[in-house]
Amino acid sequence: MGKHDIHRALIEKCCQGDARSQYRLYKLYSKAMYNIAVRLLANRMDAEDVLQEAFVAAFKRLDSFREESTFGAWLKRIVINHCINFMNARKQIFDDLDTQSFLMADDSRMDLHASHDFEAIHDAIKTLPDGARAVFNLFLLEGYKHQEIAQMLNVSESTSKSQYQRAKVLLKEKLVYHEKQV
């Protein structure tokens, strides 16, 4: 039985309200989804709350999952939407930025000695300012285009791009500082 079929069988049982199958499905995705949420929200408790809401929403509308995408991608979209709603409710608004200054920013030396310390990178992403953090996560780690991000966050495409540049510069500073500390 392939991974796809296992998922299909699990999802069918979840649709029938089988709690054990729901837990199995949850466990399959909880770590990946939690990390997406905690990197976006930068707060453990908020991520836990949002993850809970997102999974409940997903289980409640599981019958609308059409297998046009993978289950993981479908679920990820729900989690990300819940995170964005949460940020909007908290009014985590983007700072006004001078777009040009960041587009010009030099990131050639971003090739760092790119520390392979994933924990340090994960932590550094969490310390980015709200707007830059959201765009960096959505663009580089979750694979959205700037145009999509602009729609999701209700900002202009150029704001999304400049926030991304800003995030890279800030991240570099943070990681260089971290390397020096180590």
Binding site: Q22, Y34, F118, I121
Partner: protein
């Protein structure tokens, strides 16, 4: 063009998932929410039916109590049981009649608000009928007399609450009108 750092992160994306969620806590929350019974259409239907029934019965009761000329005449009253209670009963009845009249003038207000009291009054009157039956069956009995006195007192308290409720509603409406102006 993407820098090596960006490429590095894209290629090692999964290794960035370094944090462990508190699965026990999160699942507990999910499980609790999923266990809550969904509101069924059927449940709503019965709720709606109950509300309609309550409105019809309370309107019927209000109509009978306040607008119909004939009041319920009890076959046996306290004064029949014991002439000593005649004055007391008259006093009670007088107060109750006054309050009823007052209510009759005010009750055009919000019937829904006082429906619950109408229900209480109805129950009380049913109990009074039972006391009368008990009296026929058991004869003069101190317990029945006390219960009948209690009936009058309770009835007065309910009528007071009804009047208060209606007055509150009217005050509220007046305040709203005043604010709108």
């Amino acid at each position: 063009m993407k820098s090596k750092f960006e490429e590095f992160l894209e290629n090692n994306r999964q290794q960035l998932d370094v944090e462990e969620p508190d699965d026990q806590l999160i699942w507990q929350g999910i499980s609790n929410e999923l266990k809550q019974k969904p509101k069924s259409v059927f449940g709503n239907f019965w709720k709606a039916a109950a509300v309609i029934l309550l409105l019809i019965s309370s309107s019927y009761f209000v109509y009978n109590e306040f607008f119909k000329a004939e009041q319920v005449v009890y076959t046996i009253s306290l004064s029949d049981i014991d002439p000593n209670f005649a004055t007391m009963e008259n006093d009670y009845q007088l107060v109750i009649d006054n309050k009823m009249q007052e209510l009759g003038q005010l009750s055009s207000a919000n019937v829904e608000n006082i429906a619950v009291y109408n229900e209480e009054l109805k129950n009380l009157d049913e109990m009074y009928e039972e006391y009368q039956q008990d009296f026929v069956e058991l004869g003069k009995n101190e317990r029945i007399i006390m219960a009948m006195i209690d009936y009058y007192e309770k009835k007065m308290r309910i009528l007071d609450r009804m009047l208060m409720e209606i007055q509150k509603q009217k005050d509220h409406e007046n305040r709203q009108e005043h604010t709108e102006l």
